[in-house]
Symmetry: C2
């Protein structure tokens, strides 16, 4: 039986998620309903992707008994309220990154999911790409020896996009693209929590960061360097350096289709989209398979993108934000 999805929001990332899953031409996934704030938006979205039901409110989506799991693709500031609404109504959730605004909200979300015995995962889709699976198999095989350093940089000129520029929407580069750079470091270092996070960055007039650079120190001689930007297109590569060589995730590394193992390239193409994508990637589909796999096995957590991994990532996000001075209204009071 197909996994039955509801879609929270008719926005761009939801467009690409549905587009991507449909491009797999699989019967494993079925989109049963989409909800948006405006009914006409939901209806247009439903029509485009041939989804049977369209709702003009998220409450209706939450109450639809046919919906098994909800993909939430609304703005960052709405992630926790959206998760609560769905979890309270018995829906599993796949939450577009960043899971929420901060670690406190993440803990609240996971505690609720746990109490309701529901699946909840941050949609860090990079982890489920065939390119990442290949790269991590190579790392596990010891192809580049002991990994001691990771470099990741990611930047797109989107400083003027409202969701990125606005503090009330959970804007800023840390949560927009920094999450991907932190994600690869967290995954390479196997969930280890850094001993030190040292960051610099600049804030826009709304008080959110339009760039940052961070140096991370881990135990056992491990370090990482991260640079992110919303005014520049950076090289957008992630480089994993070991004692016996280098594995590089080619641009754009968060949607990686080329992995360089000591300069030998391995290519991993995404499916062709059924309609043109907004963000240019149909790599979003692979995470849907992980959700289905977990649900079928009765697992409320993915081992590839665990809840603890999301918490470690958000702790690093919090630390970077604290150092460069980005404070959201929902952040807990600063420890003095």
């Amino acid at each position: 039986m197909a996994t039955k999805w509801g879609i929270y929001s008719a926005g761009k990332i939801c467009h690409d998620f549905v587009d991507s899953v449909m491009s797999m031409k699989t019967t494993d996934h079925q989109f049963v309903a989409v909800g948006a704030r405006k009914l006409t938006d939901a209806q247009a979205f439903a029509k485009l992707f041939d989804i049977p039901k369209a709702y003009g409110s998220y409450e209706e989506l939450a109450k639809d008994p046919e919906v098994q799991v909800v993909y939430i693709g609304t703005v960052n500031s709405q992630h926790l309220p959206a998760a609560k609404l769905m979890l309270e109504n018995g829906k599993h959730i796949l939450m577009e990154k960043p899971l929420t605004i901060n670690t406190k909200q993440n803990e609240e979300l996971f505690a609720l999911a746990k109490s309701k015995k529901l699946f909840a995962m941050e949609a860090l889709w990079s982890r489920f790409l065939p390119s990442y699976e290949f790269a991590f198999q190579e790392l596990a095989k010891g192809t580049i020896g002991d990994v001691l350093h990771v470099t990741a940089n990611l930047g797109f000129p989107n400083a003027d996009v409202i969701r990125v520029a606005t503090k009330e929407l959970g804007g800023g580069t840390v949560l927009d693209v920094g999450v991907y750079a932190i994600n690869i470091v967290e995954q390479v270092f196997g969930g280890e929590v850094p001993e030190k996070v040292e960051a610099v960055g600049h804030l826009n007039k709304n008080g959110v960061d339009f760039d940052f650079a961070a140096a991370l120190q881990y135990k056992n001689q491990k370090t990482a360097s991260i640079s992110c930007h919303s005014m520049l297109t950076l090289e957008n590569e992630a480089t994993i350096v070991g004692t016996k060589g280098i594995i590089k995730l080619g641009a754009n590394f968060h949607a990686c289709q080329k992995v360089y193992v000591n300069d030998k390239v391995h290519e991993f193409a995404f499916p062709e989209p059924i309609v043109p994508t907004v963000y240019g990637s149909t790599g979003l589909c692979y995470e849907a398979n992980e959700v289905r796999k977990c649900l079928k096995a009765g697992q409320l957590e993915s081992s590839v993108m665990s809840r603890e991994a999301s918490l470690t990532i958000s702790r690093i996000e919090d630390a970077i934000r604290k150092q460069i001075g980005v404070v959201y209204d929902v952040d807990p009071p600063l420890q003095l």
Copy 2:
């Protein structure tokens, strides 16, 4: 008339410097003497490169009236004493990087050079490479727009080499290779002093760093990320990112022979060595031409590698060392 050089030390970098200058097959430079602690070392060096005079002490080199300018290639901890000996005896100096151990020593060296009206320059040879000249011409032309970010990483597995591992010799990655990464950032940002330097790193059992990562913040929305290592070969590239594109100095960027301007490659070959080089580069020759040019023009300072640039670089070195806890005996007391 040829510029008349003395060579301070018969070690590896002096070998490559002389090798490189001779490989230019020019009559502009003449090596008149080499000095070492052991006469036999100086004699072997002199024989290899057909240098007329070999001295078993640096005092003799300093007193040789024929020597006009001395290239100093001894261990870091000996840089200031060596500079003093030569300057006190009226010799111009070209000092292998890092100029000295810290900013205080640099200031002392430059004050002495100034009082003696002698030329003194840090041998940051990268700045004089044809590849750097080309890259900086492109930057000046605005080819990649406004530069807002620089990334540089440099690492070689040399943690066990005594001069790198030993604190008394001025060891550590900051002074060994970090200087090159800091140099390119300093040059790109036109001598600007960073507002913030945030660094992490690990120390060996002798108390010097075997790796570090640093994030630098500059005014007007500029940042830089630096990673250096003595246990790994990193990618060893420097990436300069502007609003209209990227200029990348290919590996090894401090001895760059390939410049990528928005992915179009431009190649710059070094001369063929006259005998095999130790470090694999004959790119050291170009700085010698700068020294000659300045001396002929009566300039005691190079505009390409100014004294102020050396001081800015050493201030960043000091800041990184302070944060990661590398303290040399000659460092001034910490400000509490």
